[in-house]
């Protein structure tokens, strides 16, 4: 579980996060949504420890990040997995090399043990015949799956995903969403996903927080988001014609 209390983050004169508080539960897919510039990425980078908030507290299973020693922070980071928007695979390494990298870096496992683990996670993300291929030789969807495999290879307690299905076709996007959701439940991980994608919101949004201008404007589930009267949320959710029609149908059905 991750608890966030009143975090603030500024860059020069720009006050990006203006006091966000929330809780991300274990075994659930927690989504952060909001328009571009609302502070989602900065918030996610604060959770990852890449940015240090000027004010506020972030607790990982009760441990206050700001009070951890550098060694404890490094250990905590080894319990985190991250799927970046552009996958961020190391392009000089093969698919297998990318997935094996955290194991080589942080464990003392024998080569055969590492190989078993790499084979297992690649199979888990449905990639069985891409071991020796380089990131540039595989599709965007496969790259995302490799990124997920790399993120879970160390059995993380926390999984963070920044726009995991951006740039993917709708079918592949749903596959990636489902994969993240399954892994979250299967391994009881605290997963936080930063997304714009309303399909993700509908499919896997067990908890959603909506950010607007650096503040938490709304919090709820994928069932509640279509019923809320919060204007900022409805403006965001129904900005697409498709969802306007869905809402219209919902209202008609209700009446």
């Amino acid at each position: 579980m991750i608890e966030v209390e009143n975090i603030h983050k500024s860059f020069g004169d720009a006050h990006v996060l203006k006091g966000i508080s929330t809780t991300f539960s274990k075994g659930k897919t927690n989504l952060i949504i909001g328009q571009s510039g609302s502070g989602k990425t900065v918030f996610l980078k604060c959770l990852l420890g890449l940015f240090t908030p000027e004010e506020g507290v972030i607790r990982y299973d009760g441990k206050d990040y700001s009070k951890l020693s550098p060694e404890e922070r490094r250990n905590l980071r080894q319990e985190m997995g991250m799927v970046f928007q552009g996958s961020a695979l190391f392009d000089s390494m093969t698919v297998e090399g990318n997935v094996r990298f955290p194991l080589e870096m942080f464990t003392k496992q024998a080569k055969s043990e590492m190989q078993d683990r790499v084979d297992f996670v690649l199979k888990r993300v449905n990639l069985v015949d891409a071991h020796d291929r380089f990131p540039a030789e595989i599709s965007g969807g496969m790259q995302k799956r490799v990124a997920i495999a790399r993120a879970i290879v160390m059995n993380p307690k926390y999984l963070f995903c920044d726009e995991p299905n951006s740039g993917l076709d709708p079918k592949t996007a749903i596959l990636i969403d489902n994969l993240i959701h399954e892994i979250t439940e299967e391994y009881d991980i605290t997963t936080v996903i930063n997304t714009h994608d309303m399909n993700s919101v509908m499919e896997i949004g067990k908890k959603i927080i909506f950010l607007k201008d650096g503040l938490k404007a709304w919090e709820g589930t994928n069932k509640e988001i279509f019923r809320t009267d919060n204007e900022a949320v409805t403006n965001f959710v129904y900005s697409s014609d498709l969802f306007k029609k869905v809402r219209q149908m919902y209202i008609e059905e209700r009446n």
Partner: protein
């Protein structure tokens, strides 16, 4: 003020490079890869340029020695001094600032743009140690490349002088041995080693801390080349004053 901040950030980066070292099992292949990329892949251009510059120095010296009382072996003497003292350590280093420096900035900068550096940091890897340390170690072999440059430069001078009909081979060899001061070679290698560290670290700094996209990677490479060259030229003056002055 920005310059001072950059110098401070550069100093902090150098300290960070040596903190929390990566496992030797992972670091060893990275070092070999960088030696191959930065040193062996540069030998072709170093040999090519050194050979012809050595030849040009010999020809220009020969053409300017019109007074018959000046001995011909001065051509070899001048070639040797120019190549060992200045051309190989300094001129070749500026060329390497372009070739190796732009490779370093663009490779690290591309990793920054594609979030690969963020991925390393999220994992808890000291990205500066992982990316920059192998380049520093590889560049410690740079003096060997400069030794080859010196040898080839003098060979170029010998070929241009002898086959151009400016002096005999015996005169050239005599000129090479004339008033030879071994310390000049030491001075040249001290300079080379300092320049090697500059070539490894300044482009790394510009790549690692760059912001933006693909266009900025190109700009960072250009900026890195300018600052590496400027630093080499300033350090060349300071080291010459300290070591020979």
């Amino acid at each position: 003020m920005n310059y001072l901040a950059s110098i401070g950030s550069y100093a902090i980066m150098i300290i960070e490079v040596f903190k929390k070292p990566t496992k030797w099992r992972i670091m060893k292949p990275l070092i070999f890869k960088e030696i191959d990329e930065l040193i062996f892949n540069s030998l072709g251009i170093i040999i090519f340029i050194s050979f012809f510059i050595g030849g040009v120095v010999a020809i220009q010296t020969a053409l300017n020695l019109t007074n018959p009382i000046i001995p011909k072996n001065l051509i070899a003497f001048t070639t040797r001094q120019s190549v060992i003292l200045e051309f190989s350590p300094t001129f070749v280093s500026i060329i390497m600032a372009g070739k190796v420096g732009s490779y370093i900035t663009s490779s690290i900068g591309t990793m920054r743009v594609t979030e690969q550096i963020d991925a390393l940091e999220v994992m808890g890897v000291n990205a500066l140690n992982y990316l920059v340390f192998p380049k520093i170690v590889a560049m410690l072999f740079y003096p060997f490349a400069i030794a080859i440059s010196m040898y080839v430069g003098i060979l170029g001078g010998w070929m241009a002088g002898v086959f151009g009909g400016f002096l005999t081979s015996a005169d050239f060899v005599a000129g090479l041995q004339l008033e030879f001061i071994p310390y000049h070679v030491t001075y040249a290698f001290i300079k080379t080693l300092v320049f090697a560290l500059v070539i490894a670290t300044i482009p790394s700094f510009h790549g690692f801390f760059m912001k933006g996209g693909a266009l900025e990677v190109g700009k960072a490479s250009t900026t890195a080349f300018v600052w590496t060259s400027v630093t080499i030229i300033i350090l060349n003056y300071i080291l010459t004053q300290l070591l020979l002055g």
